[in-house]
Symmetry: C2
Subunit: 756 residues, 2 copies
């Protein structure tokens, strides 16, 4: 590990700039924009999981008092651009176009079929009832394995599997396959002294953000649309709205509102293009808000999966071969995270022989969206459980087994490149030494550990930094603040400029006031947008040095920047006094006008982040209820810019991973109707369900970032699934391969074991 750097602001825990507004209710979220003459939009959703639309008669709805506009798929331009969607979500633009409003057929229960805008929500709802849709029901397919069968009902007759050596002859529900392999699998397994093989079924799970999707849109008479909505990336959502409405980018302004959680699920549009079309048709501003039920039925959960894993090891613990076959549900339109699932699964290990096959499979369920480290929790659950089983078979400590095989600097990642400096070993060693690992397992409980990984990404960001006339600093950038990025940007700007944190204010600009930024996702924001902020501050410093040089009548290279001041360097007249940013700002009009800096970039060198989690679970053998006794999240942050936020990310990732492991699942009836579309029945962990999540920040700085940032948002959800399964294995004495470990499943497993 590099020696700790003596930062002045980085690593401190100042008050968050958006805090006061959020705790006092002043912060404005997606539903909070109101405009004069505003009307309300609602969506008519399919009652069938799979059906042809024969006709839609909107005439009765159109004629109702108080109804201003009705739209169907016919109102939208056809989008044949099959290009990949940006962000982490996968999927195509044409799939998105059909997902937001069905055209010829419906592909899942809840699929949007029409929308109305009316002067009140109740009139809008009544108008939905007045729309008559004639369907021809088609046979649905819900099970991912059945959907892969040759004789499965097809969701899309035009879908030919991508990723095969040749285009297949027949269409299929398998939209894509990714295969990764290295070495000789047969030879690898032949070298193994022990081999573990398992199959795991994991359910579809929702991101569970507290804020439902909501937006307000208004289209002016010149066709220019403004959309107010919360999202993880208003620039990318602007692009989606522009494409799906046919307006083009310069005719759409997207204004970011505060966001009440996204976790990957707010990287794509649902209501926004509908609201724009309804506003265009009605000439009025239109507000649309989903109910919680709509969020569950019609917005992106993550894929349910079936995974088959096989891993071999020598007696000394050396992994010799590993194989994963995993089918991921895409829901109604292609775009399951099969690629990251495949690329991540073996990332923590040095492996000479492996093979992964991952499938993107359409089924008649809601279309999936990205969910925090998309694909990795599912695939790595299989691997990390297998490694645990190997440790049991070998009689090794599971952390020792991982340390023996742990990837390190120079290891060729299974997905291609060689790792630069990474912190996996540091995390594993910290876990091994952690009191929560060294203390005895509580009576009757079980302990599980697992490793986690996420790539982290760079992508495009822009930032502008303006120096106010009094020397205070305004940072503008375009990444929505989900996990505290305003504070992180202010910290990095303060560190770079050498001025106090309190003198800096960060603002998230809308799509017409600042430069393009990709989504807040991929754990990229603190890394990439931070880099843009740092570079924009360096641009400011360069300008300040040149202004000081002009004022002092010296060369630019005779001026240094220290502690927020231009300081005369060697050779400058001794009576020249340093000038602070405020001094320079006050004289800016004499030295070329307002001081500003900017930067835009496509950030390279994102640093992968590894983790190790430890969990103690207690099982009530009467009821099947599981109690989380302790949970420890250890993860490499690179450098923790604002440690409290980093800990919050670890805790949030852990809570979501625990929820998925222990309780969360989509439950459908035989017609594909979700049976638990509400937070009462779809039970995410609440505060009383969890102990305080212990965190430990490991800092192995990313050499490609000036302050060593890696990104911390996603890795945290990866390991909890396997850690919980491994803890259950330890507590129960046998493996329950599938999730969630809900009371019914635990009881059934105990029953089967007793009978077995």
């Amino acid at each position: 590990m590099a020696e700790a750097i003596d930062y002045k602001v980085v690593g401190t825990r100042p008050v968050r700039p958006d805090g006061a507004d959020k705790v006092t209710g002043r912060a404005q979220y997606g539903a909070d924009m109101n405009l004069p003459n505003m009307i309300y939009g609602k969506v008519l959703r399919s009652p069938h999981a799979h059906a042809k639309i024969l006709s839609i008669d909107t005439s009765r709805a159109q004629a109702m008092d108080g109804v201003f506009a009705v739209i169907t798929g016919d109102d939208f331009p056809s989008v044949n651009d099959g290009g990949e969607l940006g962000g982490e979500g996968g999927g195509s633009l044409s799939g998105l176009a059909q997902n937001i409003m069905a055209r010829d057929k419906v592909r899942y229960n809840g699929h949007a079929v029409a929308a109305v805008a009316a002067k009140s929500l109740s009139i809008a709802e009544a108008a939905l009832d007045a729309i008559e849709v004639q369907y021809e029901k088609l046979e649905p397919v819900f099970d991912v394995l059945k959907a892969m069968a040759a004789d499965a009902p097809l969701l899309d007759e035009q879908c030919f599997t991508q990723g095969l050596p040749e285009k297949p002859e027949k269409p299929s529900n398998v939209a894509g396959v990714m295969t990764l392999a290295r070495g000789d699998l047969e030879d690898g397994f032949a070298q193994a002294d022990v081999i573990v093989e398992n199959e795991h079924v994991l359910p579809m799970a929702h991101q569970g953000y507290i804020e439902p999707h909501a937006c307000t849109a208004t289209v002016a008479e010149d066709g220019h649309a403004t959309v107010w909505a919360s999202s993880q990336g208003h620039f990318e959502l602007r692009g989606q709205v522009a494409a799906l409405t046919g307006k083009g980018i310069s005719k759409v302004r997207f204004v970011p509102m505060e966001i009440g959680g996204g976790f990957g699920g707010k990287t794509r549009v649902y209501l926004e293009p509908l609201a724009v079309m309804l506003s265009e048709k009605s000439g009025r501003p239109v507000k649309m808000m989903m109910t919680r039920e709509e969020v569950f039925r019609a917005t992106g959960p993550t894929s349910g999966t079936v995974a088959r894993v096989k891993v071999g090891a020598k007696k000394d613990g050396t992994l010799t071969a590993a194989q994963l076959w995993i089918a991921l549900e895409a829901g109604a339109f292609s775009g399951a995270p099969h690629a990251p699932a495949a690329m991540a699964v073996f990332a923590p290990y040095k492996l000479e022989n492996f093979k992964v096959e991952a499938f993107d499979v359409m089924v008649n369920k809601p279309t999936v969206a990205a969910y925090r480290a998309p694909g990795a929790p599912q695939s790595m659950h299989a691997m990390e459980v297998a490694v645990n089983e190997l440790a049991i078979k070998l009689g090794m400590d599971p952390i020792d087994l991982r340390l023996k095989n742990a990837a390190e600097e120079g290891t060729q990642a299974p997905y291609g490149p060689k790792f630069s400096v990474i912190g996996l070993k540091e995390c594993l060693e910290a876990a091994k030494a952690h009191p929560n690992y060294t203390k005895p397992v509580p009576e009757g409980a079980g302990r599980g550990v697992a490793a986690g990984f996420w790539f982290n990404i760079g992508q495009q960001s822009s930032a502008e930094v303006h120096i106010n006339p009094d020397g205070t600093v305004q940072v503008v950038e375009g990444s929505p603040d989900i996990g505290g990025s305003r504070a992180s940007m202010c910290i990095m700007a303060a560190e770079t400029l050498g001025v106090p944190y309190d003198s800096i204010r960060a603002l998230i600009g809308d799509t017409e006031t600042t430069g393009f930024c990709n989504v807040t996702g991929g754990s990229r924001t603190t890394f990439a947008t931070g880099l843009a902020v740092i570079q924009a501050c360096e641009d400011v410093i360069a300008s300040c040095k040149s202004r000081a040089a002009a004022l002092w009548g010296v060369d630019e290279d005779q001026v240094e920047w220290e502690d927020g001041q231009a300081v005369p360097g060697p050779g400058v007249n001794a009576d020249v006094k340093p000038m602070s940013l405020a001094d320079l700002a006050a004289k800016a009009h004499k030295t070329g006008g307002p001081i500003m800096g900017k930067a835009s970039l496509n950030a390279q060198g994102a640093g992968p982040s590894f983790s190790c989690n430890i969990v103690d679970l207690a099982f009530d053998r009467e009821t099947g209820k599981v109690d989380v006794l302790s949970f420890t999240a250890i993860q490499d942050a690179g450098t923790a810019i604002h440690p409290a936020y980093v800990e919050g990310q670890y805790q949030g990732g852990a809570a979501q991973g625990i929820g998925w492991a222990l309780n969360e699942e989509y439950i459908f009836d035989s017609n594909g109707v979700m049976q638990n579309a509400g937070f009462l029945d779809y039970r995410v962990p609440v505060a009383s369900d969890l102990p305080m999540i212990d965190t430990q920040i490991i800092e192995v700085p990313n050499p490609s970032h000036p302050y060593g940032v890696r990104g911390v948002g996603e890795t945290g959800i990866v390991a909890p699934l396997a850690a919980c399964t491994n803890a259950a294995r330890d507590a129960l004495g046998f493996l329950v391969p599938d999730l969630p470990l809900s009371p019914p499943r635990v009881l059934a497993a105990l029953d089967a074991q007793e009978k077995g």
Copy 2:
């Protein structure tokens, strides 16, 4: 004149980007921001023109149901900073502090004494009635000459005249004096064959913007204030709010709304700091709106003046000497535009001998603010009438007389510098050849001509230009769009980048989203902010060339920018194809991220603008009513970026000048109470009062601007006053020296003449 340049977009007349929103009522003006839980603020105003405040008892008002906050001068920090206010308005920060809320005394009828915020306007008004103020009345002074007398009642015991060789021993109502002189006045008048001497009294007149002052402010629990208001410069008003509330710049965000006219009068705060203080005290958003009466009684008119002029000429028309003594009413706090009045008066003429003395004099009337070419209409009225009288005495054509003495390139302006290329002679020659001048004067009417002048200024501006992923262009700058600057910025950006006008959108950023810009005033916006936009576009082009070079594997200097495309230069492989801005934008992620450019500057080289106006007036000798038969505004624009807007500026300036000449005036009773504080009694010209104003754009490009822009907003109001007086002279056969030429004055003059 330089040869006309073959521009592609500059000089065209595209549809204004803000037009659709403005004509359909979507545009949001100062009063249009509404927030949840918003309450309403009102101001208690002094019934006395001059009084000490003995006590203010707000307890009854505070206790009223529905009243959330009451403030008086005690709630504001004392501002002792006597520093000059920015913008064109003159005055000091400490004067502004006392003007927005009286402290120890009131200085005019209408002066703010307290303010309340309540849940409705009617409760707020009732609460004002419940505030008890004890005054000790002081003797007021309304007449500028009386105010200058040694024994005048003093408005400010601490006011010692600025601009004298030594600080005077005694305080006075004369806040400042400017003296300009050159040559030998006595010798000059001795050379003269004819001499004219006049005295003119001009009334206080209001800018008459249609939109009254209004704002909404909210202060969050962390003390951060946001203000929505229309203004001519939200950055400068932010600074005023920050200083007057004691918050500091980084705690105030100022969001510009559309502005319904300003003309100089919206360069300073009135309600904004009050709304902030009321919001801070109440914890709620506060909206404040002035009535028209309040606008007249308590916001900046321009100075009434008394001017004494003496000009001599030889028989051949050569001007030999000129002298002006002018006293300008400042109203209640110092800041009359005596400096520009002095500097402008003789600008159109080559003059070897002159002297000007101009005085900034406080009287117990509303505090003046800038009004379109502040000070110049009043001082130049005196000079241009004198020149006309000289022409009559000499039997010369008044345009010929001006041409004989006209300033030109190399003439040393009376205010110091030598003129660069200017267009005065071109304007005079165009006037002489104009059909409205060569045609006979209609029976019974009179014709007047006069010259006009304004300096135009540069000051600070910033701009950012972002290239969208589809190659469309977003311009962001901080100058409120009053006269069509969004369109002008788009035109200049289109010309510079070589892309269509329609592909560009300009946005006025708020104080936290874009770089500092001085006020939209001084006719600086198209010049200075335009320069920033042009430079930011050049920054974009540089980035595009470097990206194309990288993509083509050639040196940057082998790439040229032509017609919106990067074009391979000599020596580049022949199969390399040009890349458009859209092509480059699509590949931006591979060439360093989003394309953006920025510029900030303190613009130098603003080009003065001259004008010549011709007016035909007909007088009804029974009623004194005046009809404007024709009006011709000829003015040098430098280059007209959007000619329709330039013509609009000429017409607007003419309409305001005509109104001031013929009808507008503040009428006070003997207690200093304005008697005509409404548009029914304070009569600005409406459409039916005026003929279509004929315009002729003279283009003598400003060599200091890439497209030759001078600025056109202010010069247009300067000449109409004298042109009307000169037309009246021609029609009536004798001089009516004072304004307005309203029916009572015309009748009185006719009566006096008859009685002779």
